[in-house]
């Protein structure tokens, strides 16, 4: 039994809750939430982390073969919307979800609960206070050359969306200025990593001084000397969303999990312990200055847009 | 070129025991002759050969080839193999499989930076000599055992060394080919002015091929001599036994005069023509089966006639190999294929005094 597959036994005592629930999640560091859920509900939640890049393909491959293991899916909103179009998502109405701001719901079972907010993260020990960027374009200053880390803008969907989000929200006043920002960034030869995950390590160690990364690492990586640049412009990020699968093997447990996830308690844990920016009004991560920051969701890019922008960014950054 | 070996020692350690591969070997290998080191496996003959070539480093002693000391423990001289200008034929032939016949043979000349045209000419000549004309382009992997052996010989000879060494070069050939090659090899070597050192454990090979034979045992040279001396007049029981089958009968010398000696054994008295042992000394009479002569009942008995009972008669083609019981001793003899005897028959035979070899124990 030890090595038997997870998720294969199907208990169907109709009204009682199943004893487990499986979640596929793209968000990291959610262990505290899962532990609380397990101890409070008596249901065992199992989480498989899927990167955003693998999310759609894995779920669709399993779904097409009738072998989808997951009850609950957590991913950026556009990912869940693609899956909804394929019929993977259950049109579930969450009582708690309906108390969220208007713009976060009415997505046919998909609920947004947070923003994967992106900022300029720097090493607080090695960067002098007066050098910390005041605006995004400050990192185009040649003094940062060879000192910037970022996820690969040719392939990392969230970074691509963020860069496009800066343009669409007219952060720099004009499209030319936005281009100038990109070219200035490229001229500083940033070091590329696969995704956001590996961005803080080189900043912590001083290998790099600053990066395009997420403020949540200030919490999860403590006591690493990380800080975020309080730029004058707003912060942007893709909305994080959650939904139940249409053919969930543990439908009752899945609903219980969903309600738990959207509850104030969970969003509290997420912001308090994981540093997430959640959409529950009045709840902020314990990061200095975030409470007053203007954090905005960016528009979902379609898959084609991401690929074509990725190709454009690849050219801009290769030209350095 | 003469090879002079003095006080050569080489000890190995194996499982806590010290094995004396060379135990104070002193030897002079004469110039331009075929010298064979003969002995059972493990006697040290190959170690000695490899020490001469320089593939093995002895512990003590000195080796001198011609006028050059190539190794000396006292003078701290070590001339590496490649500088000793020798030729060698290995047991496995060691033909390089990635080269053709020409390149195999030309290799020693190429190492001497000899011009290409001369190399070609000399390779052709040596190929002619070993009767492999036209084999230049043949890949080494497509040679028969006998051909490989000739290529190996050609390679050893091509640089015209003054000394050539052979490490059991015929042991991988089948019996018939071995016999032919042996003859050829002897004629090749006698034609050239070259000192040949030949290692083998095969006594027939040693007898047929050599000008001189050195018999080795336990890291020592026991006896040196030409084939006839080793065969007919061995001084040691070990040599006599190793060089051919023998009846070895313990004896005591009774009398000795200028014409010979008389010894006493368990199967009677023997008259021997040897005179090198004093009365009362303990010796061994060595009688080879092929020197025994049948004596019929009605003819007068010659000296050294012995009577016994036939125990066995085995027909092996040319002769009968028979065992005769004399008193309580079994004697091996060879009778002509024409005799008519069967087990149980009484029989008389004699040995001429010159064929009664006396050796030390």
């Amino acid at each position: 039994m030890l090595f038997a597959a997870g998720g294969q036994e199907v208990k169907s005592e109709s009204k009682t809750l199943e004893d487990k629930v499986t979640m596929y999640a793209s968000i990291t560091g959610i262990e505290p939430v899962i532990e609380t859920f397990n101890s409070e509900s008596g249901i065992t939640a199992e989480v498989t982390r899927l990167s955003t890049a693998n999310f759609v393909s894995t779920v669709l491959t399993e779904f097409a073969a009738g072998k989808l293991q997951a009850d609950v899916l957590q991913a950026p909103l556009p990912v869940l919307e693609i899956l909804k179009d394929q019929g993977v998502i259950k049109d579930y109405v969450s009582p708690i979800g309906e108390t969220y701001p208007e713009w976060t719901r009415n997505n046919g079972g998909i609920y947004q609960f947070g923003i994967e907010y992106v900022a300029l993260i720097y090493n607080t020990e090695l960067v002098k206070a007066e050098d910390v960027p005041k605006r995004y374009e400050d990192i185009c200053d040649p003094k940062w050359k060879g000192k910037i880390v970022m996820a690969n803008p040719a392939s990392h969907a969230t970074t691509i969306s963020w860069l496009v989000g800066l343009k669409e929200n007219n952060v720099f006043g004009s499209e030319e200025n936005w281009y100038a920002f990109l070219e200035g960034l490229a001229a500083n030869s940033p070091m590329f990593v696969k995704s956001f995950g590996p961005t803080p390590a080189p900043i912590e160690s001083g290998e790099m001084l600053i990066g395009i990364s997420m403020p949540k690492y200030i919490i999860t990586k403590a006591p690493a000397p990380l800080g975020w640049a309080h730029v004058e412009q707003p912060l942007f990020g893709s909305p994080r969303a959650i939904a139940i699968t249409a053919d969930s093997p543990h439908p009752n447990a899945a609903e219980a999990f969903m309600e738990f996830w959207l509850s104030d308690k969970t969003t509290g844990i997420l912001s308090e312990q994981v540093g997430e920016y959640v959409l529950t009004p009045g709840v902020y991560p314990p990061i200095e200055g975030i409470k007053d920051a203007d954090v905005r969701p960016i528009r979902d890019l379609s898959d084609e847009e991401i690929i074509s922008w990725g190709a454009k960014f690849e050219k801009i950054f290769a030209a350095k | 070129m003469e090879i002079r070996i003095t006080g050569l020692k080489k000890y190995y350690k194996s499982e806590g025991n010290i094995i004396k591969a060379l135990d104070d070997v002193n030897l002079v290998i004469p110039s331009n002759r075929i010298f064979t080191l003969l002995g059972p496996s493990g006697c040290g003959k190959t170690t000695l050969l490899r020490s001469i070539v320089g593939l093995e480093t002895p512990d003590e002693g000195e080796i001198q080839i011609g006028d050059t000391v190539v190794w000396s423990s006292k003078k701290k001289i070590f001339v590496p193999t490649e500088k000793r200008s020798l030729g060698m034929v290995f047991q496995t032939y060691a033909i390089w499989p990635h080269m053709n016949v020409f390149n195999n043979i030309a290799y020693p000349l190429q190492n001497q930076k000899i011009p290409r045209a001369e190399i070609e000419q000399r390779v052709r000549k040596v190929l002619e000599f070993v009767q492999l004309e036209g084999f230049e382009k043949r890949p080494a992997t497509r040679l028969s055992g006998g051909q490989q052996q000739r290529v190996a010989l050609a390679r050893a000879l091509v640089a015209k060394p003054k000394v050539i060494l052979f490490d059991e070069p015929l042991s991988n050939l089948d019996a018939k080919l071995r016999e032919e090659t042996r003859k050829e090899l002897r004629s090749f070597l006698t034609e050239l002015e070259i000192t040949a050192v030949y290692v083998t454990h095969d006594r027939v090979e040693a007898l047929a091929l050599s000008d001189n034979i050195g018999v080795m045992r336990n890291g020592r040279i026991v006896e040196i001599g030409d084939p006839k001396k080793i065969y007919f007049h061995a001084e040691h029981q070990f040599v006599a036994d190793f060089i051919g089958r023998s009846n070895l009968i313990p004896a005591v010398v009774e009398k000795k005069d200028a014409n010979g000696s008389i010894v006493r054994t368990d199967i009677g008295q023997f008259v021997c023509s040897q005179t090198d042992f004093d009365p009362q000394s303990k010796v061994v009479v060595c009688i080879r089966p092929e020197f025994v002569e049948l004596v019929s009942a009605d003819e007068p008995k010659p000296v050294n006639t012995v009577s016994g009972i036939v125990e066995s008669m085995v027909f092996v083609g040319e002769v009968y190999e028979s065992e005769i019981k004399v008193e309580n001793t079994q004697v091996m003899v060879k009778f002509p294929a024409t005799v008519d005897l069967s087990p149980g028959d009484p029989v008389q035979f004699s040995v001429r005094p010159e064929h009664c070899l006396l050796v030390t124990e």
Binding site: V56, V193, P202, I306 | T81, T92, W96
Partner: protein, 559 residues
Amino acid sequence: MIKSQTRLTWVLIAILALLSLSPVIMLLIGSFSKGLVQIGDFTLDKYKAVYGDVSFYGVLGDTCVFVLCSALFSTVLALFLAYLNNRTDIPGKFLFKVISVVPMMIPHVLFAVSWGLLLNPSNGILNLIFKDVFRMSHSPMNIYSIGGMILVEGRLDLPIAYLIISPAMASFDVSLEESSRVSGAGNIKTLLRITLPLLRPAILAALILCIVRCLASFAVPSVLGMPANITVLATYIYKITTTGLIPDYGKAAATGMCILVLSISLIYVYRYLTRSSEKFITVSSRGFKPVVVKLKGARIPLFIILLILLFVLIILPVLVLLYTSLVPYSMVPSAKAFSMMNLNHWKSVFTDSISLVSLKNSLFLSLVGATLGTILSVFVSYVIVKVKTRSAGVLESLSFLSFSFPGIVIAIGFMWLFVRTPLYATIWALLIGYIATYLPYGIRPMTSAFIQIHSHLEESSKVCGASFLTTVKRIIVPLLVSGIVSGWVLMATMFFRELSLSVVLSRPGTETLAVMILKFSDDGLWGKLSALGIIMIAISTLMVVSANLIGNRFKPASD
């Protein structure tokens, strides 16, 4: 007797075809399919898209440089080490075993990461030391470069090259060299004109196998190549599967096809070479120990080089891991770093339930998988070596196929395959995938062991009236023990750190250690990654040592 052998051959062919052909077929179908993640609607679009793109050829160029140089580096280093070990009087020969086996147990991601920490241009520890000692204003080395990638990848593939070259060097007929010495050539000339040319098949075989492994290598290009924006085929495929929200696996499969075709062709060249090597390398018929080349004055300098290699290859990366596992976040060694050291990463690894599940799974996969794989290898090698029918030839070709599988490509084929079976999302899917992909590593040592068994040994047993099974049990197995042990060890250590298949096939409950390593690396948790990595290395070492001990007990006493 003959009949049972024929039946055995066909059963094995069926098993191997299922194992190694089916994922390739799935991949092939997928690459011609229109749908992004589904199969069907055949089209050539994916191929046109991949091979019509000019940037692809730039990637191909970088790949060639990376792959060829890395393979050359491993082979030359392996040759140097094998020569020192087998043919010279260098002291400390047990070190060679350490150098040749240990790098195999270090997960490649860890190795790449620790080199990043050592040699990054900003504050790599070694760079800082060099700057300090030689008073340089710039870092002398940049690991994020094609040169850095080659250096690290070359070291990672060293064991493969060494394991091929060293036995060839050891079984070399020494009289071939001795006759060269007698012919007037010195040590160096003999090495260049006789030894190396004779070892050419083994050297080329090692080179080719390294090329194939480099083509499939992902850890080094992603950790060290991506920061410098250097893309090779493996990371190009990764980019295709990660750009955008719906990855185009068909396009990835179409790209992967060129690696697969290249690898398969190379593997067949390799087979051709190793076949002809049998006629070249003749085992000395005498009991002479190979003559040792006396290094004299070079003995100590070469030994120091060996120690430096050992330090650089094994000790340094492991030390970096140990250090990283103890500091709370990535930091350059300093008084502050040492004062902040604690065991938090270790504690969190040991209390994390998924880490423990993955440890259990990896142990199961490694022990059971390697055992099943070894049993299958024994039968396959037996048929390949001893049954000389045409069907045995088919089996041999099949058995080599998965040597050429680039993990990142073939994993997709396996996913498409397993999702159509009840095995999907079970540990058995991983088990079967592992065995299918790594079977050649079990078969190879076993085949050489079988070749060593003289046919007459078996026949004498048969004449004695022993049945086929008794022949196997009484005669062959005891002689095979060393082959079995090395095959098992190779498979067990590879399974224990397997990544490319696991990451695609593992699901909740079937996580493996390498998947955890990748998860930690994706999340930038270098501390936990290092702690888990050290645990993996320790367990692998334990497995290797105990397998060797057990193997020694079965060997005949005379050995």
